[in-house]
């Protein structure tokens, strides 16, 4: 089970502590988390389920800049979902 940590900016809709999610990719793990925290979905993904432009994804210490939702995850991965500073 991967660990997922959301920025504190999302504390009103996100779990306050790290949560776990299963899946082979970032998108799969997030979908698993959204199934339990549905309000989060629209904050991270747009109407077409694309990652919002100014949301930053870090997996195991690497800033995933391209095709982040398809980036592979392992059961031990740590996923940080943060606000990209490009968004102000």
């Amino acid at each position: 089970m991967a660990h997922v940590i959301f920025t504190s900016h999302l504390k009103h809709v996100a779990p306050g502590e790290a949560v776990t999610g299963t899946g082979a990719t970032v998108g799969d793990v997030l979908a698993d988390v959204f199934s339990r925290h549905s309000a989060l979905r629209g904050y991270i993904l747009d109407d077409q389920d694309r990652l919002r432009v100014h949301v930053a994804i870090f997996v195991d210490g690497v800033h995933v800049r391209r095709n982040a939702l398809s980036h592979p995850m392992t059961p031990h991965s740590e996923l940080h979902v943060l606000q990209a500073l490009s968004g102000g």
């Binding site: 991270i44 109407d47 077409q48 389920d49």
Partner: protein, 366 residues
């Protein structure tokens, strides 16, 4: 008629609510502190308010209060249907990037909502659920719309005919004016007579490529519409059959905002600015213009407004008039808020230190 002594101000850093007392307008409440509020729709009694947020990182959000702002509930905002084709991952598949307009739609709880990239949405339940108006989104002419001031087309004006709520007009930058007579089942163009100086000469009269910055419909004579267009003021007296450009406009024919008098279709207000290359007040002096004879002549008002070194622009939703036609408010791109109690002839500064103001709207006192 209840006094409209409550003013909702949508700003870059939150929703500010002003209340008027004997000494003037006072800040009474601040909601969504720090978040850009692109549009606010209060009910006439000011208790139910829809507030559209446009969060820099996390997208468009919609909140509603039913107790005048004491408590807010987050709603599901309008969303474009998922494109379930090979193009689904295409960056051009639509996603709401801003809510630019919201208007009550006739029957209780009905709301129209205009967005970038150019979609119109409808709710029958005070914003709890939304549906995209497919008939306009799928109209073949929509493919010719383009952005004006925004990358994507923006549907910013919605006018619901007070005689029949199924007759609705919308305006798009840049896509002209569109009209439905059947509650959104079908649409026809309503910007004949406008012209666009930014188009090649033989395309300037194309009604589909017009940039009507703001369109308002007269509540008292609904066949009459006013438009502050990208390159002029246009007037229509025949229910969107034809528009006519108003000639000899003082100060400048460029601007964004227009407001029409609630009981006199011949009276309308504008806030001119230097033309599109610069977009600052003419000579850095702020003026409000008013016509009372259907555009034949204008008065220019400057009393109470800065007359030097002012860079305030009044955007399209930044000017509003109350039910009497005497009380007006306007908010600027640089965070100044003014109010008038005499039909715009004189203005008093409410604050010069607010965030950028996107929209101002009156409601009755609670």
């Amino acid at each position: 008629m209840a006094d409209q002594e409550r003013l909702y101000v949508s700003t870059r850093k939150g929703l500010l609510t002003y209340v008027r007392d004997s000494s003037g307008w006072k800040l009474a409440d601040m909601a969504h502190r720090g978040s850009p509020v692109s549009m606010t729709l209060p009910s006439r009694d000011g208790r139910t308010v829809l507030a559209a947020l446009n969060l820099g990182h996390f997208g468009v959000k919609l909140h509603r209060t039913e107790d005048g702002g004491k408590t807010w509930t987050e709603l599901q905002p309008p969303r474009y249907p998922k494109v379930e084709t090979a193009e689904a991952a295409d960056d051009k598949a639509p996603s709401v990037s801003a809510i630019w307009s919201m208007t009550w739609g006739g029957p209780k709880g009905h709301v129209w909502c205009g967005t970038t990239p150019g979609g119109l949405f409808h709710s029958r339940d005070n914003g709890d659920t939304w549906r995209l108006v497919d008939s306009l989104w799928n109209h073949p002419e929509r493919q010719r719309w383009f952005g004006g001031g925004t990358v994507e087309p923006a549907l910013h004006s919605i006018a619901v005919d007070p005689r029949d709520h199924k007759r609705v007009a919308v305006a798009v930058s840049c896509g002209g004016v569109w009209r439905t007579f059947d509650g959104g089942e079908s649409w026809s163009i309503g910007s004949n007579g406008m012209w666009a100086e930014y188009m090649p000469p033989d395309m300037q009269g194309d009604p589909v490529t017009q940039d009507p910055h703001m369109v308002v419909q007269s509540p008292s004579s609904p066949d009459v519409f006013w438009c502050q267009h990208h390159n002029g003021i246009f007037h229509c007296t025949d229910d969107l059959a034809n528009w006519h450009q108003v000639k000899d406009v003082p100060v400048s024919s460029f601007g964004f905002a227009v407001a029409v008098h609630p009981r006199d279709a011949n009276t309308a207000w504008f806030v001119p600015a230097d033309r599109d290359q610069t977009r600052v007040p003419v000579e850095e002096k702020i003026a409000v213009t008013r016509t009372r004879d259907g555009g034949k002549s204008f008065e220019v008002f400057r009393d109470g407004l800065p007359q030097e070194n002012a860079f305030d622009l009044i955007y399209r939703h930044g000017l509003t008039v109350d039910d009497t036609g005497m009380r007006l408010a306007m908010g600027s791109s640089t965070g100044s808020l003014w109010a008038s109690e005499n039909g715009g002839e004189a203005w008093s500064l409410v604050s010069a230190h607010l965030p950028a103001i996107y929209a101002v709207r009156f409601a009755s006192s609670l």
